[in-house]
Amino acid sequence: MDLLLDAEQRRFRDEVRTFLDERLTDELRDGQSRTIGVYPEPDLSLAWQRILLEKGWAAPTWPTKFGGTGWSPLERFIFENECAQAGAPLVYPIGMRLVAPVLMEFGSPEQQQRWLPQILSGEDYWCQGFSEPGAGSDLASLRTRATREGDSYRINGSKMWTTHAHHANRMFALVRTAETERPQQGISFVVIDLHQPGVDIRPIISIGGDHDVNQVFLTDVVIPADNLIGEENHGWTYAKYLLEFERGTGLFSGRLRASLRRAEAALNGPPSAHQQRLIAEVAMELDVFEMFELSVVGTLPNGGAPGPVSSVLKLRASRLKQTVSQLGVALLGADGVRRVPGSTEDVLITDYLNARAATIFGGAAEVQLGIIAKALGEL
């Protein structure tokens, strides 16, 4: 791995910079800097996605045959780094980076044709129906039931902690299609159109005080049978595949560095010696994380699954997210308790509070440690 950018990579980076200079508006930039939830609001992320789409840059993780960019991992790294550095909105990943790889690997050509173009264009906005009130870390105990009725499935149950369900028109969901001895064996992976009778979406207010997640009630919701991905009762395999992508293909270091800059920008005047030490400790951890991220993602072919090391990446990314957001509050000192709505302080405090979710969603830290012990420690 050679870090020194060659002429071609510098040209690519300059092209990205020029594009950002020309197309990234102050409005988009400002919106991203005030984002306190896990993802920006869709008016922000979709506006940016449409601009990227015009340039052909909306799906850097996709293979070219589906409309991806065909970039090398290092080019993707340069791109994400420049976007984060410039303060561009985060492209909403649930469709693009979570369900799309599953559709590409396990979906039929007809399903790929039906859903992938609308993910790319932003016409469809997806949410993830995995967790349930009784199935959090123990995901396989999920009880939302899908019953086959001729050419359709009837679905009853409820999904929990569903991020941006209130903005979404589609959900990919794990549902129980058989009662088996091993609960993992009776699960199927289906797609649910949310704009239909029987779907009731209710907000859950987060620790930071905002509305990101929901409980989704599904009562006699009917979906066509060809909304089943892959084979019936094989959904657990597809879910594990998806989770590897969720945990192991994001590039967060640029975003984390942007958060670090946001925290520093809130200082009144130059940092004290004590504050300098606090910043340095976090920045050093971030530098090393950046190397880790590049060495994991950088070895992946386009569309490739990262394997169990994705759990280490998820764990470290989520802990670092918390470390950086905690720095933001620590640098405020006593002002770190002042929640004046709309203030810079409140953005940092809310971000700090919401960051506690990072080690819980997508498989809690304890779940990741269990996977790491078994897969990498052979215990």
């Binding site: 791995m1 050679d2 870090l3 020194l4 950018l5 060659d6 002429a7 510098r10 980076r13 790294f77 340069i78 780094n81 550095q85 270091s253 640029g254 560095r257 670090l260 800059r261 520093e264 300098q276 030490r277 910043i279 340095a280 400790e281 920045a283 050093m284 951890e285 971030l286 530098d287 090393v288 994380f289 950046e290 190397m291 880790f292 590049l294 060495s295 090391v309 280490v312 764990l315 470290r316 304890e366 990741q368 440690l369 269990g370 790491i372 012990a373 078994k374 990498l376 420690g377 052979e378 215990l379």
Partner: protein, 327 residues
């Protein structure tokens, strides 16, 4: 593995020479193998993994310094063949070719034939026979040396406009190589601990079947992975950018995080080995001593946080990627 007390055993040093360990850091033009940061790092990682405690890092530093010399073929050949040993130290002063200063804990000096003094003015060679050394047993089971130089005569081997670049490279490689060695020692500790947890039976089953134990082993794995990326960061940036401010930033971050990982790995390895961990029956205790010595010296001699503030924060480099470097 060489046990405590056997340090400096000549056969081992010869065996290391036969494997080419002392030529890797010597520039090709100077008669060496011209290895870069990664080659040096991989060697030290392997030595660390097997807990080989010979002062190979000292030879790496010596080889890097001697590469700056214009007329030192004999010394370079003697270093590579393992016939003569060279210790290296920084921070001494020279006046008219005479070297002065106080040296403590110097690794690889006890039993060395020559001392290489890298001063601001150039590289100086001192005959170790004229230096009165006091050997000091060190925490990592090696032997350090204390000595005082008071206008000791020396032969100047290198100077000139390129000298400070060579000296900075040697300083950087010293820091880098020690980090890789510590990472290797951690890998060994993780492997030994996982294996022990698979086999050691308590309460009628293997310890590794308990979730609390699994999570602690997983934390060791995560820490060792962080040490790995830290080591890679230091070596790749040093290789790509040379011993400048980018490398100083990367090496500071590397050292801070390798040291943090070393604490987790060393302490957890001993804890999970129970009574065996606090005895000298297995090599876990020796790994603990090795990693603690690394942490103490890394912090005291290199001061990574201060280095990072001086080389990154003061110039706001930390606001940008540590990896994407201009060619």
């Amino acid at each position: 593995m060489v046990a405590a007390g056997q340090w400096g055993e000549p056969l081992t040093w010869t065996a290391l020479a036969e494997m080419g360990c002392f030529g890797i850091a010597v520039a090709e033009a100077a008669g060496g193998f011209g290895g870069g940061a990664i080659e040096i790092g991989l060697m030290l990682r392997t030595l660390g993994r097997f807990l080989a405690i010979e002062p190979v890092v000292t030879a790496v530093v010596a080889g890097t310094l001697l590469s700056a010399a214009s007329d030192a073929e004999d010394h370079i050949a003697a270093l590579i063949e393992g016939e003569k040993r060279y210790a290296a130290c920084f921070g001494l002063s020279d006046v008219d070719g005479r070297i002065s200063g106080q040296v403590r804990n110097l690794s690889g000096a006890w039993g060395a034939d020559h001392i290489l003094a890298a001063t601001d003015a150039g590289l100086f060679l001192i005959d170790a026979g004229v230096v009165v050394m006091t050997p000091v047993p060190l925490l990592d089971d090696t032997v350090g040396a204390d000595f005082m130089l008071d206008a000791v005569p020396a032969v100047q081997l290198a100077t000139g406009p390129d000298w400070s670049w060579h000296r900075n490279l040697a300083v950087a490689r010293n820091v880098m190589a020690r980090g890789w060695q510590a990472w290797g020692a951690m890998e060994g500790a993780v492997a030994a601990t996982s294996e022990y947890m698979r086999t050691r039976q308590q309460f009628g089953r293997a310890l590794g079947t308990f979730q609390t134990v699994q999570h602690r082993v997983a934390e060791m794995i995560v820490a060792a992975k962080e040490a790995e990326s830290a080591a890679l960061l230091g070596a790749l940036v040093l290789e790509a950018a040379g011993p400048g401010p980018e490398a100083q930033r990367a090496l500071a971050a590397m050292t801070a995080r390798v040291a943090a990982a070393a604490a987790i790995v060393a302490e957890t390895a001993v804890q999970l080995h129970g009574g065996m961990g606090v005895s000298d029956e297995l090599d876990i205790a020796a790994r603990f001593r090795h990693l603690q010595a690394y942490r103490l010296l890394a912090d005291a001699e290199f001061r990574p946080t201060e280095q990072y503030i001086a080389h990154a924060l003061d110039f706001q480099r930390h606001r940008h990627s540590a990896l994407l470097i201009e060619g």
